[in-house]
Structure formats: structure tokens, C-alpha cells
């Protein structure tokens, strides 16, 4: 039996008696396995009026029912056991349910992915649990059409040395660990030891990390042994007498993501396992901490680090536009290798400054706006090719951006012959190399319709693919075979025109 918690008046318009109404009904099943899910919270949100919501609880056989719904599109969401999921959720895009005359919206099967998990325990060379260690999880995946190794979580081990990552999508994962032996004592040479950053299944370099392949819903259990080694010491030079300094050590992990490594010791001295690190430092000047940059260190034995050799990597620049810039405007930069993103605030006068940029390859967008796009870009201090800004360590990058208004939406329908296709991935592949790494995207709703939002003017090839999971569409070698059957359009489209796109099968 379905227990309905209806907020009827929220959805119905005032003349509900004269307006035909419709139902959304279906079942929630676990995926994989197709077992009915009893007791899940099922929510509907009207796409055009997001404040109008309904919710119900699935019955014994996973069934749910919403009735008296006006014709519209609804986003469907299920929450169960602390996790939530939209209908056919893929990277934030989902398939909305259309209701109206001649649309079947009463036989929905909501496949609820239970997600997998990676659990484990950390022990030292004596078999003792390691508490207080930091465990990093990385996911090798396709994100926004790019192959990336992204951070998928971080946790601390408890007193029993155990850790757990739940609700994981199927795919390839890496685990890295940093910590300190619980018995380490800097003042005792025999106990002056450290753990090197360690990657599952025990290697101490990112290249030696062993991938963990997680099937849908699978539970993986691992054990990692950390082996203490004699610590090496890095003395800091270049400090004024009694000047306080804060240092942080990091190592580049899988995909280029940063792993923080604790360096222990007094002011001006770092005690750490031998290895390659990036050392960043802040010093106290007249009661204010100031950042002095970072430098790479190969710690093979006791050594001295000259703080004066530190460098800062920065991105500064200016945005110019006709008319005033809106408040809150930002430059959004995204690391192509690991998905790490930064928002660089843009001032009223269009200037921006970010002195904490990590070296890497970035794509750029105007952020916090649905009006402005990057029309023109000139770059000093870095290269910008095919939509990728390549920032070297210590680079002082200066961007001159011309922003313009005029982004538009494209509406259309995804078809297989004449039949609408639900859940297809719709891509607008830009032909302008300035935007080569940013692809506007949508997912067709249950009636096959879609909206590609906020497209800058220009020529695009519109491509529809029936199964977009893990499709690296931003990689030229992957998308090229689909372009031939795509539809080339010049944006903005003529007023009121809509696209009809034939859906291609996944290659």
C-alpha cells in the first residue's frame, strides 16, 4: 500500500476543477537485482515551479502513485537509507517525467542504485591499528566528457584503524593514506620515524597505486599496511629570528590531486618520511600570516629548505564588457586532470586575482551568470590552446577577457525515427576552439524533449546518444565518429525554431 503525503493545493492551479489532471505511478526497485524497495521517500518537483513539491512513501512492492497532477514536467527523486537519487541520474542530469494527454506516465520503473562501498583497515608493521590517519579516495571516471581522476572522498580512521566509503558508483578507484606512527617521538632517535604516503596496496608512489574495480553495488574490503621508516628532517632557512612559520606538505596523488602529508616537528623543522613533496609556507609578519609560496622538495636525507626559493603561481586579469558587470561574477577554472574547480571572484571594475592557483591544465568559464560568456581571451604567462589553459609552476598568468551577453537556449526533441527517446544524452559540440573543453549538455525527458541551456553564439554540432554513461565526449577521438550524424546549427537559432535530433546508438 502506498502511503501518500499529498500537498495537493501546491500543485493544482486555482481552476483545478476544469483542468484535466494526470497521474505519475510506478515502482522503485533496487539496482542491480530488481528487488522492490519498500519505505523509500519518493518526491516530485514541478520543473517550471520548483517550490511545488509532493512526496510519498513507496509501498510493500515498491509502488508509488501521485494523482491529480496538472500537465507539466516533473523531476522525480527517491531517497532511501540516507542517499538520494534522481530518475536516471547521470552527472547531475536526469530524466524528468512529462505528464499530459496521450503520455504514459504510470509505468515508471525507478532503478535505485544502492551503490558500492570500499571499507578497510590500516595497520602498522606490528599489526596495530592506525588511528587518526587520513584516507583519500580517488575515482577514475569520465566527468563532463573528460577522463579524470577525481577526489571521491576523504575520511579519518577511528581508534580501530578502520575506514569506510559508501554509496560509490561503479568504476575504478584508488586509495591513498597519510598518517603518523602513534609511537613516534622526534626527540628519541630510535622512535623518530614517519609513515610515507602509502597507496593501496602498499606502494609509496602514485604510480604504484593499485586500482580497485568496483562493480555496481559491490562491497570491497581492503587492508593497507603502513611501514614506518626513519624520518628525515627539513630545516627551514630564511626566517627572521623567532619568526613563526606554518608549513604544509603535499604530494601529487593519482590524477594530480593533492594529498596532504603531515610534517611534524617544531618551528622551522619538518620531520617526514623520505620522498618528493611540495612544501608551502606561511610566515607571521606583524601579527598577520602571509603566504610566501611553495617549492618542490626531494627529501632523501636531512636537508635545508630556503624559503626564499618559494614561488607563487597566480592568475590575475581583467574582464571587459559593454556595460556594468553583475555583482557576484566569477571566473570558473576547472582542472582538466582531476576536476578540482576554483571560483575567482571578479570585482566591480572587472579585475580578478588568484595567488593560490595550482599548476595544471584548466578550462575556463564565466561563473555565477547566465548572461555573460567569454567572447575573446588573450593570455600572457601561459599557453591557451583548444580551450585549455596550461599553467606552469611559478607562472604569473595574466588574462584579458572580453565578456559579452547573448547566451541563448535551444529546445528540441530526441527521436528514434519518429518516436521520442527518453534519457538520451544531448550534446552541443562547439566548433569554436575557444570553447573546445566546454560542451553544453542536457538529457532528454520522458517525452523526448530537451533544453540545451546558455549557449554562447557560434556554430555547434548537436549530437544525441542513447547511452551517455562514461562517454568522453570532450576527447576529440571519442566524439568525432558521432559528429557526422550530428546536426550543425548556428546559435542563436531563428526565433521559435526547435530541433529534432535523431538519436545515435552508443558506439
Amino acid at each position: 500500500m502506498t502511503r501518500l503525503l499529498l500537498a495537493f493545493c501546491l500543485l493544482c492551479c486555482s481552476n483545478a476543477q476544469q483542468t484535466p489532471t494526470f497521474k505519475i505511478a510506478g515502482h522503485v526497485v533496487l539496482h542491480p537485482g530488481d528487488r522492490p524497495v519498500h519505505g523509500a521517500k519518493v518526491s516530485l518537483t514541478m520543473v517550471q515551479h520548483r517550490d511545488r513539491q509532493l512526496s510519498a512513501v513507496s509501498g510493500e512492492n515498491g509502488e508509488f502513485l501521485f494523482y491529480s497532477l496538472p500537465a507539466a514536467k516533473y523531476q522525480l527523486r527517491v531517497e532511501y537509507r540516507g542517499a538520494g537519487q534522481f530518475f536516471h541520474d547521470l552527472e547531475g542530469f536526469s530524466t524528468a517525467i512529462a505528464v499530459g494527454p496521450n503520455i504514459d506516465s504510470e509505468r515508471i520503473v525507478f532503478p535505485l542504485s544502492v551503490g558500492g562501498s570500499i571499507s578497510g583497515s590500516l595497520v602498522d608493521e606490528s599489526g596495530d591499528p592506525i588511528s587518526g590517519a587520513i584516507v583519500y579516495l580517488f575515482h577514475r571516471t569520465v566527468s563532463r566528457g573528460l577522463y579524470q581522476t577525481v577526489s571521491a572522498g576523504q575520511t579519518n580512521t577511528g581508534s580501530t584503524g578502520t575506514f569506510h566509503f559508501g554509496h560509490l558508483a561503479p568504476g575504478t578507484y584508488y586509495v591513498a593514506v597519510t598518517g603518523r606512527p602513534w609511537y613516534a617521538r622526534n626527540e628519541n632517535p630510535q622512535l623518530d620515524v614517519a609513515f610515507p604516503p602509502t597507496y593501496y596496496s602498499g606502494g609509496t608512489s602514485p604510480e604504484a597505486a593499485t586500482p580497485i574495480t568496483l562493480e555496481d553495488g559491490a562491497k570491497s574490503e581492503i587492508q593497507i599496511t603502513l611501514r614506518a621508516v626513519p624520518a628525515v628532517h627539513i630545516s627551514l632557512a630564511g626566517l627572521a629570528e623567532n619568526q613563526q612559520v606554518q608549513t604544509s606538505l603535499s604530494q601529487i596523488g593519482p590524477g594530480g590531486a593533492r594529498i596532504n602529508v603531515g610534517g611534524y616537528g617544531g618551528n622551522g623543522l619538518i620531520s617526514v618520511a623520505p620522498g618528493n613533496y611540495e612544501v608551502s609556507a606561511n610566515v607571521l609578519n606583524q601579527n598577520e600570516w602571509s603566504e610566501i609560496g611553495s617549492q618542490a622538495v626531494k627529501a632523501g636525507g636531512d636537508s635545508t629548505l630556503h624559503l626564499g626559493d618559494s614561488v607563487k603561481t597566480s592568475i590575475i586579469g581583467k574582464v571587459q564588457a559593454d556595460g556594468d558587470l553583475p555583482p557576484g561574477l566569477a571566473l570558473w577554472i576547472s582542472n582538466i586532470a582531476n576536476g578540482e574547480t576554483s571560483w575567482i571572484p571578479i570585482g566591480k571594475d572587472g579585475s580578478f586575482n588568484n595567488s593560490r592557483t595550482a599548476p595544471g591544465r584548466y578550462s575556463l568559464l564565466m561563473g555565477n551568470t547566465n548572461e555573460f560568456y567569454i567572447q575573446k581571451l588573450t593570455v600572457e604567462g601561459a599557453s591557451y590552446t583548444n580551450g585549455v589553459l596550461e599553467v606552469a609552476n611559478g607562472a604569473q598568468v595574466n588574462l584579458n577577457i572580453t565578456a559579452a551577453k547573448g547566451m541563448t537556449n535551444i529546445d528540441g526533441i530526441a527521436l528514434d525515427g519518429k518516436s521520442p527517446v527518453a534519457g538520451a544524452m544531448i550534446l552541443a559540440i562547439p566548433q569554436d576552439s575557444l570553447r573546445a573543453k566546454y560542451t553544453p549538455r542536457d538529457q532528454s525527458d520522458s517525452d523526448g524533449t530537451f533544453t540545451l541551456a546558455e549557449l554562447p553564439p557560434g556554430r555547434y554540432t548537436i549530437v544525441a546518444v542513447d547511452d551517455g554513461r562514461n562517454l568522453a565526449y570532450a576527447e576529440p577521438g571519442v566524439i568525432t565518429p558521432y559528429l557526422a550524424a550530428g546536426q550543425v546549427v548556428d546559435v542563436p537559432l531563428a526565433n521559435g525554431s526547435k530541433l529534432a535530433i535523431q538519436v545515435q546508438h552508443r558506439r
Binding site: G82, G84, S126, D128, P129, H164, H167, W182, Y183
Partner: protein
């Protein structure tokens, strides 16, 4: 049996080197050995860390047989501490049957072989499900450990969350009395409960954990319908946002979802189960002032709308101290004054701070409530009277309303203090202890006088064993340790032997006390 509290443990370390250095004779050095064992089973513990605290601190790890060796240790008194994951050192415990009777060891010319004992930690684990038996992932478990701190009973809180299967565990717990509180995740509305299924802490089952014990506490939280609680926070001081949380009557913070719209001050808590809750709102302005408001909300199987909560700045109460003689440099710091809340489920106290030049003494960030003032004078001054307007704070409580104006607290000190000197019976001279001096003619907190053990070969003792006291009537108690003892509660102290004493102005009284073991 003598027990050393963690505080006294530290004091002892501070004392020891100076006591030995004072002899100014380089003592002979020895190699010492020892074994670390499981105190319950006697089994040796491998790879345990032994720290030796003496003139110089030294460390060693035990081998596979639990044995350790430390070279070049100066003759004299030392203290050992040992560590091993999953175990704890009995020295670190509050007074209990697990604490060692003698806290230090002597390194001498004879065989220096020592036995160190570690206790295995206890564990609480269980599973949290809803009415249908489905696991409640993300349910929060508050592991509450009964403690007495500064003589006040309180529950130390350690939280863990249930995993996808509803399972939770809390390891390495020290022995003592525990209560477990569970409440469901935001995604699913359930009625919070104390183990096994009690609505409040008073009716909860106390779990007395012994070292190494494992206790299973399963919860089946009743699935409930959630109701919508909406309203507005008024008096928001800045755009920095407002913190909102729900608490139950025992002061436990709950995870009910609540959102706040800074633009209009409206808040929405969409799924609150039926019950009586306290909504706590707090904020800060750009000048560093804290604001707070509490409002009780009764959800009785229906939505609650139009709740209005007015934020008020927490009070800053200036303090005027009238010394008995003209103050000399630093004399303002020669009293310690504290406001102790007496109407909150969680023990809170505000210390006094000194600000600016010239110095102004004040209690900062005082939230509305009922308080007791406690003053301890030093430098031969003691409390004569304390006033908040016309309220005599030596006999009455300070009641602070949410938006009432604040008056200064006036503290008058006197110089004709009485002095109470306590000494232990000869048989107890080498034991540590505390003397509690409980005023019977005012509401002031008991005064605590630490008695340090007399060391062998120690010719002086730096810790004073007397206190300047306001003239009046007192009950005097003596304990091996105040740790774990709810000594601010007269009912608790009534079970122990005591001596009555009435102190006249300027009177010096010496008492010989007999140490009691706290129960």
C-alpha cells in the same frame, strides 16, 4: 589506596625535577628494565610505548615479550606511562578501583625492573533500525559518559554515526557509566531515544562498562511523521548567517533539517517529529559580539507556524572589585571569579576576563539564565560580599533575562581572612589528596585544597596547603581525589565523614584530616 588525578599527575611532574635538582648532587645512573602487561590477563603486551618521566624524559618500545629497557636513568623518583592502541593507562583514569595505588617508582642501586599494567578499552556497538527493521544509515549515536567536572555532574559526549547497515561502534572506552542516545538521519523522521527506548536521560538504562567489556545496544527507532516548523528569526545582527539547531530537554543536539533565509529571516524545519524541543538560534555581528536565543517548541501532531525568535546580544557584565587595600600592580588578577549556570542541562561556566587599559574586568558572552557567582581570592584577600544591584550574590542567584539591562557586579574583598591549614594524618603523609571546604553560610562553591604527597628525601613542598577564607561556617571533607566526585551537590557529600568548623575573622585554624575514598 592513593590515587592521583590527571591534574595532580601533571603537577607531580612539575615538582619532581625541581625537588631533585635542589639537591644539586649528580645521582648515579642505571639501566632500567620492565614489562608491560594486560592488567586483566597478565599477558605481556608487545610494541607498547613506555614513557619515563624524570629529570629527563625517555621512551622505549616493548619487544615481542612485552619487555623494555631504558639506559642511563638517574637514580631517584620517576613516573612511567605506557601506551598501546586498544589499551589505556590506569594513571589517566579518574579515581576508580583501576587507578594505581602508588603513582611513582624509585630507581635505585638495586635491581630496577618494573611492571607496568595497561587496561583494555571497552566497546559499545549495536544496530539502529526504523520501525520496519530497515537500517538507519547516518543515525547519530551520542555515547554519554557520566563524569564529574569541577564537582558538577555532566555527561561527556562522543558521537558516532551508523553505517549503511545501521551498524555503529565506539571503541577504546574507559570504564565507567554510560548512556546511549540515538536519533535518526535527516532523511527519515524517527523519534529519538535513549537506550533501550527511553524518552529522557533519567529513564535511560545506565550501562556500567568494565575494562575490555563489549556491550551491544540495539535501537529500533519509531518511524514518525514529520511536521513543518516555520517562523522567523528577528534581530539578526549581520549578514554572517544564523546558526539554528534543535535540542531535547536534556540538551542533546538533534539533526533535524532546518534552513534559514538570510534575506527575510524566515526559517523552515520541514520534518520535525512530535515532541517538545528547544530551538536554539545563534549569530555574531561584525564586532565580535555573540547573539543567542532559545525557544521551546511543542510539536503535537501538527505543523507549527509563525514561530518568532528574537536574537539578543549575549550580556557583557562589568565587574568592579573593591580591594581591602589600595591595589598594587597585578592585583586585579589576584581573584578568580566564575559564573556557574545552574539551570542548563549542560554544565556551563563563564570565567572573568580582563580587558583594555586601564583594565576592566567583565564576564563576556553571558547567555540568559540562572547563575551562581563563585569568587576565590588570593594574595591574602577573600570575599566579603558580592552584589548585582540589590541582589546579594553570596546568598542568591543571578537571574539574567534575554533583554534585561545589565548592571555591574560589585565584588568587595576583605583582608581579615581566616586561614585553614590542612594536614594529613602521619599514616597518610605519602599520599595525595584534596580537602573540600564547603561553605554552609553561603551558596558559594566548595573550595578545593590540593594536598601533595610528601616525597622521600623531599625537604620542602611548593604547593600551599592553606587557603585564605571568608569568615563563616564550613564543613571540611578530605578525599584521595576529587575526580569523579559530584562535590558541588550537598546530597552527595552527606555520605562522607566531615568536620565542622566556624572561622572568625583573622583566625588561623589547622585541621588534621583523614582521607576518604570517593564512592
Amino acid at each position: 589506596m592513593t590515587r592521583l588525578s590527571p591534574q595532580m599527575f601533571r603537577i607531580f611532574f612539575l615538582l619532581l625535577p625541581s625537588a631533585l635538582v635542589s639537591a644539586q648532587v649528580e645521582p648515579p645512573h642505571h639501566t632500567i628494565t620492565g614489562t608491560v602487561v594486560n592488567a586483566l590477563t597478565g599477558e605481556p603486551i608487545r610494541h607498547a610505548l613506555v614513557d619515563l618521566h624524570g629529570i629527563v624524559q625517555k621512551s622505549a618500545l616493548t619487544g615481542p615479550d612485552g619487555r623494555f629497557q631504558i639506559e642511563d636513568v638517574a637514580e631517584g623518583q620517576v613516573m612511567f606511562s605506557a601506551q598501546k592502541p586498544g589499551f589505556f593507562d590506569p594513571n589517566s583514569l579518574p579515581a576508580s578501583q583501576w587507578s594505581p595505588s602508588i603513582p611513582w617508582s624509585t630507581v635505585g642501586s638495586a635491581k630496577n625492573d618494573f611492571l607496568l599494567k595497561l587496561l583494555p578499552g571497552a566497546r559499545l556497538l549495536g544496530r539502529v533500525t526504523n520501525s520496519d527493521g530497515e537500517p538507519l544509515e547516518g543515525a547519530s549515536l551520542h555515547i554519554l559518559n557520566e563524569r564529574a567536572w569541577q564537582g558538577h555532574k555532566q555527561w561527556a559526549n562522543n558521537s558516532v554515526n551508523a553505517d549503511e547497515d545501521g551498524l555503529f561502534r565506539a571503541d577504546d572506552l574507559t570504564p565507567g557509566r554510560y548512556v546511549v542516545f540515538a536519533h535518526g538521519p535527516q532523511a527519515e523522521v524517527t523519534a529519538p531515544a535513549y537506550y533501550p527506548n527511553a524518552p529522557d536521560i533519567e529513564s535511560a538504562q545506565a550501562i556500567d562498562l568494565r575494562p575490555g567489556q563489549e556491550f551491544r545496544a540495539d535501537f529500533r527507532l519509531r518511524s514518525e511523521r514529520g511536521y513543518r516548523v516555520t517562523g522567523q528569526i528577528l534581530g539578526v545582527p549581520s549578514t554572517n548567517g544564523v546558526g539554528l539547531s534543535f535540542q531535547n530537554a536534556d540538551g542533546e543536539t538533534l539533526q533535524f533539517q532546518v534552513s534559514f533565509d538570510a534575506a527575510n529571516g524566515q526559517f523552515v524545519a520541514p520534518s520535525v517529529p512530535s515532541g517538545t524541543w528547544t530551538l536554539l538560534a545563534f549569530a555574531g555581528d561584525n564586532e565580535g559580539h555573540q547573539y543567542q536565543a532559545r525557544q521551546e517548541i511543542s510539536v503535537n501532531h501538527a505543523d507549527v507556524a509563525n514561530v518568532q525568535i528574537m536574537l539578543h546580544p549575549n550580556a557583557v557584565i562589568p565587574v568592579t572589585v573593591n580591594h581591602s587595600t589600595a591595589p598594587s600592580a597585578g592585583v586585579e588578577g589576584s581573584i578568580v571569579a566564575t559564573l556557574i549556570s545552574v539551570d542548563q542541562p549542560i554544565f556551563q561556566m563563564n570565567g572573568m576576563q580582563q580587558q583594555g587599559d586601564p583594565p576592566v574586568l567583565s564576564f563576556l558572552n553571558v547567555t540568559p539564565g540562572k547563575y551562581k557567582l563563585d569568587v576565590q581570592g588570593y594574595a591574602h584577600e577573600c570575599l566579603e560580599s558580592a552584589w548585582y544591584g540589590s541582589i546579594d550574590l553570596t546568598h542568591d542567584y543571578l537571574l539574567l533575562g534575554p533583554d534585561a539591562g545589565v548592571q555591574p557586579i560589585v565584588i568587595n574583598l576583605r583582608a581579615d581572612c581566616a586561614t585553614l591549614t590542612a594536614k594529613l594524618r602521619p599514616a597518610d603523609q605519602q599520599r595525595a589528596g584534596v580537602v573540600l571546604i564547603v561553605p554552609t553560610s553561603s551558596i558559594a562553591e566548595p573550595k578545593v585544597l590540593q594536598l601533595q604527597p610528601q616525597q622521600p628525601n623531599q625537604t620542602f613542598n611548593r604547593i600551599p596547603q592553606s587557603l585564605p577564607l571568608s569568615p563563616g561556617a564550613y564543613q571540611v571533607y578530605a578525599f584521595t581525589s576529587p575526580e569523579g566526585l559530584e562535590y558541588s551537590n550537598p546530597q552527595v557529600l552527606r555520605a562522607y565523614p566531615s568536620q565542622s568548623v566556624t572561622l572568625a575573622p583573622g583566625q588561623n585554624t589547622e585541621l588534621t584530616v583523614e582521607l576518604s575514598e570517593p564512592k
